[in-house]
Symmetry: C2
Subunit: 334 residues, 2 copies
């Protein structure tokens, strides 16, 4: 059997080996990824992001447990990808996995993979995209990608994921300013974890005020609890298909609020399918992957036909501020 | 006079107009930027990043006041660029500017510019790079770029800036985990603002522990206060040119610790010049700009010679999962 065939047959060892190849960007990994591509497109991808200390890892484990428990007949399988771009500075990924293993160990329907940055952040995002593709092809129904809220990873994960969950906790700064607006923009579902802590009302209020500013026509108070907008007599121009991110409260360590969260993920997927957004996002992502590879390939081809000394000569004019980068490109192309 | 000549002559109205053009990516803006390029490369660029609520705006204003006050003979001019990718969600940029205007108003040696995202985060980073280039050419000695700590802006600013300052406050979570490791990696100087608040010792300890993990050979305790490494008898293999990010404490609203911070920025610049890193980083940045423009140009040229229907046809095979993005590029190029 080829590596691809072994992975499709459910061989976990082959899967782990392939993921390592894809992470390292080897040629054989890329070739296997290409051959597996036709088997992708079935998994639902959920991104979970938030600052360190919000309890993301615990929440992700609880979602996996709930999905496995709630639907035993369907036997939905779950993959967890923990992305930790901070590897030089802490051992969070390893510790998080140990805690998880205790809860999820022995369940053959759950697969856990940790990824630590080995340098460039951009490289990590690409490697994550490849890992998710492999897991999708391998037949996992739900793929949970967990990222620490640092650097550019949230934005990249949001492009990758069908549903993005942003996790906050009470007391992270109780005024509106303290809510990271850039992250709110990518959220499909907002979760206040550790919701048994003091200050949860302030955090909830701050999130809702921010959401109201972001969705001024959202008929907000009517829909926010339900997690999606429906027709509102007071604002007849409202598009019934607008998804307003719901704010959910959880205490992951006590499994509280998890069933509701899983139900909301399900509703968000239904919304994406019905509105046509699932297909649209899928196409946008594939188009983006295509454009990136095309640009890279065109540059490689061009480099082969161009005298490197000519290129270095023109670049040194840029370094000396005699040509702008744009002018240098013009001169080289002509 | 051309727009470029007016800007070089110190015309502030012409400067504001050009900045708007560059922000909007107009063709005439790009042309003027190209013609100004030979006047760039003199300003020192300082990035200031941190979560909302850390008092970044106040700190940046105080740095500007201190630089203007400390060195009247040199008449160093200062530009402030406030980047707020969160415009749909709050009015922070405008409020911050009002507070600033009160302190800095009437000083012709200070120029303030707010930038709010009009959509894509990537676009904002590019626009910021252009704005900084214009201000550099216009003769500002110090350019302070302030970003809210959300999304990918920190990483992009770090590539742009010579000195990156990361601002924390006490009580943002007192354990090591709560320090955003990804942000520590980009810091040249760490500032604990609002250092009169309770919990400052815990925050300082957490930052130092993280730094020790990041700079295991840094001869840490000896050098950290001074802000740069020097020869250490206990670790003779230590490179004397390693910069270990110093941890400074400020109370910006009372102007406390600002003189020390400005002095540390000055020391960091000296370190960059002496070690050759200033020239190296400058070249890396220009090379990056060149590569991005080259790839874009090669794609545009290729699109002109390629039948769009052929491209759409192959892309639809990708959407149907019959070809991987990589295989599609291969087929199109051949």
């Amino acid at each position: 059997m080829t590596a691809a065939e072994s992975v499709l047959a459910g061989d976990r060892l082959a899967l782990s080996r392939l993921l390592t190849q894809v992470e390292n960007g080897t040629e054989s990994g890329k070739a296997t990824l290409d051959s597996l591509f036709k088997h992708t497109g079935h998994a639902h991808l959920v991104g979970v992001t938030g600052a360190p200390g919000t309890g993301k890892s615990c929440l992700v484990s609880q979602i996996a447990l709930e999905v496995r428990k709630a639907d035993p007949a369907l036997q939905r399988s779950v993959a967890i990808v923990a992305v930790d771009p901070s590897s030089p500075f802490n051992g969070g990924a390893i510790l998080g996995d140990r805690v998880r293993m205790r809860d999820l160990a022995g369940d053959p329907g759950v697969f856990i993979r940790s990824m630590a940055s080995r340098g460039a952040l951009g490289g990590l995002a690409n490697a994550t995209a490849g890992v998710v593709q492999v897991l999708d092809a391998a037949g996992f129904d739900l793929i949970l990608v967990e990222t620490v809220g640092a650097g550019q990873s949230e934005v990249d994960i949001a492009r990758l994921a069908h549903t993005t969950i942003v996790v906050e906790t009470p007391g992270m700064g109780d005024d509106i300013q303290a809510i990271k607006a850039g992250i709110l923009e990518i959220a499909d579902i907002l979760v206040i974890n550790k919701a048994d802590r003091p200050g949860v009302e302030n955090t909830e209020r701050a999130l809702r005020v921010n959401l109201e500013l972001g969705y001024p026509n959202g008929g907000f108070h009517t829909f926010i609890e339900a997690g999606h907008a429906s027709q509102d007599a007071a604002s007849p121009s409202l598009d019934a298909d607008v998804w307003v991110p719901p704010v959910l409260k959880t205490v992951a360590i006590e499994s509280k609020g998890i069933a509701e969260l899983v139900q909301t993920i399900r509703e968000h997927r239904e919304y994406l399918v019905k509105s046509g957004l699932l297909a649209l996002r899928d196409r946008e992502r594939l188009n983006h992957d295509f454009e990136v590879l095309l640009q890279e390939r065109l540059k490689q081809d061009w480099l082969k036909t161009t005298d490197p000394s000519k290129r270095d000569e023109i670049l040194s004019l840029v370094f000396d501020r005699k040509l702008s980068p744009g002018q240098a490109v013009e001169r080289l192309i002509k």
